[in-house]
Symmetry: C2
Subunit: 313 residues, 2 copies
């Protein structure tokens, strides 16, 4: 089944221990869409400026991604400048030029209205809520957020959380949202805010899933799940790793949607976590979207098997 | 098969967010021996002072642990005072009173000389080497170390590492030993120093095992292995968690020694990692050795199954 992702399509200027790159294609929706495209049809809603050229759009369309919902407006695209030179695990933001993204008002094309899997990438929670309300037919809704919305727009964010089937965030965000430092208490605290299930990404330490009593619609309180990370010897560029994780994760869930009638099942959820890890690990091996662009499904499945081999008794 | 552990038997004065305790039984050899005792016969070599009373020895002997090798000398036992009030993940040492431990010269009782599994807990690497040379019949030798020996006694430590079948350390120690921050490179760097295999503990994020080409004596380059941690909602006292991990890990390996002729096998190694996680997770649920004292093998196996359930597809 198809996924609709709403989020940023941007250019990133990056410095990492591996080198520098100027204005490479990036943005949460871009990384997510590319990662999810290996599993299912993907539709994108975003906004770009005059600097977003046919060659950039082709990165998406060449993977079969539907870009009808990427609005072109006069001006420049969102441009982020960051450095990982001091710490590969923590981006230092040098400049955030929102440009046309500052006035982003998601517009859902008519042809997208039947999408059953909705992913609300990290944008203003007011916009996330608005998109959600325009997609009443979505069977499953997942989303992401970030520290800025958690601290400065908490009330708006809380409204979004109550409508999510799956919240996908990192461990710092889980701690900020819950006010708890212990990871298990933080997860319980976040679930108490409303999302039916929660995926927390612990970077190189893998990820964990936590479930509310009715995550799977059958009233059973499922156990949590822990997925390892694929160990990486060389991290070239961490930008978009979390979005690629989310894309691989949600893409796999949507690809199994016909069998599961659009519901979550524990089996699908667990495998999806492994696929998320795989896409995240691929993403960091080159700058921007380069590595995802040259990935194959066979390579993805090979890494999936590797991850299983190194984590199962 | 039996294990001989050589290391500290001590008293700890502890402050954690859960409270304070004065002079509770502790020390690396104590935690290790208790954890391993659920799996196999354990023998201890250590030194204590006049303050180590029959009631303290009974904590060990009541679990069938052989304390013949615990030497009693005039003076006070090793006493460590530490606080976890600022950070549960990092002990702040308030006082280290080595007392009789300062002149520790391990003496191996005649009755211990046939021990096939040797564990060299964190002590001066010169003593570790000496014990190793006194135990030529040991089929498998594992050990631990700490930042002090890595930085100030590196050459002596390197001699020990070359003689180890398994080095069990935490991620900071792996980084210090190798000079690498990336976890995979750090592991390869440590293996290059000589140990046949390496277990790195990542605290709440689980643990990983890395193998040299001939870890299992058959020339095959085994894949690494990742074990999750049992998530803990309440950490009362982290002291000894790493030693309890090592005890559970090595205890299980020794318990399977008859079937494996004292050799490592991938299957046993992996399960041992899970048992290590289980014993580590139990250890932190009460002050000192309290939780290990009241643990049962049934409870351990139940947690083992839980760990498998939350990590397998």
């Amino acid at each position: 089944m198809s996924i609709l992702v709403v989020g940023s399509v941007a250019f990133d200027t990056l410095e990492t221990p591996s080198g520098k790159r100027e204005r490479v294609l990036g943005g949460a929706a871009t990384h997510f869409a590319l990662a999810a495209s290996f599993f299912t049809d993907v539709r994108v809603v975003g906004v770009v400026g005059d600097d977003f050229l046919p060659e950039h759009e082709a990165v998406l369309t060449s993977k079969g991604i539907d870009t009808t919902g990427i609005e072109h407006v006069p001006g420049k695209s969102f441009h982020w400048t960051g450095s990982y030179v001091k710490d590969l695990n923590a981006a230092e933001t040098l400049a955030t030029d929102l440009n046309v993204f500052a006035a982003f008002e998601p517009k859902i094309p008519e042809s997208y209205l039947d999408t059953e899997y909705l992913f609300l990438a990290n944008i203003d929670p007011v916009l996330q809520s608005r998109v959600r309300s325009h997609m009443p037919n979505a069977k499953l809704v997942a989303g992401d957020t970030m520290n800025y919305w958690i601290s400065a727009h908490r009330d708006n964010l809380l409204k979004v959380l109550r409508e999510l089937d799956i919240l996908v965030i990192n461990d710092n965000e889980a701690r900020m949202l819950s006010g708890e430092t212990n990871s298990l208490r933080a997860a319980r605290g976040v679930l108490a805010l409303g999302p039916k299930s929660l995926v927390v990404k612990y970077a190189e330490y893998g990820s964990a899933a936590y479930f509310s009593a009715d995550s799977f619609g059958d009233g059973l309180d499922r156990k949590q799940f822990r997925a390892p990370a694929t160990p990486q010897e060389e991290v070239v560029d961490p930008t978009g790793a979390g979005d690629s994780f989310a894309g691989g994760f949600y893409g796999y869930i949507a690809s199994r949607g016909a069998e599961t009638q659009g519901k979550l099942t524990p089996e699908v959820f667990r495998k999806a976590m492994f696929y998320g890890c795989v896409l995240g690990s691929l993403s960091v091996e080159a700058f921007g979207t380069d590595r995802l662009q040259r990935t194959t499904r066979a390579e993805i499945d090979q890494r999936f098997e590797h991850l299983k081999e190194i984590s199962h008794l």
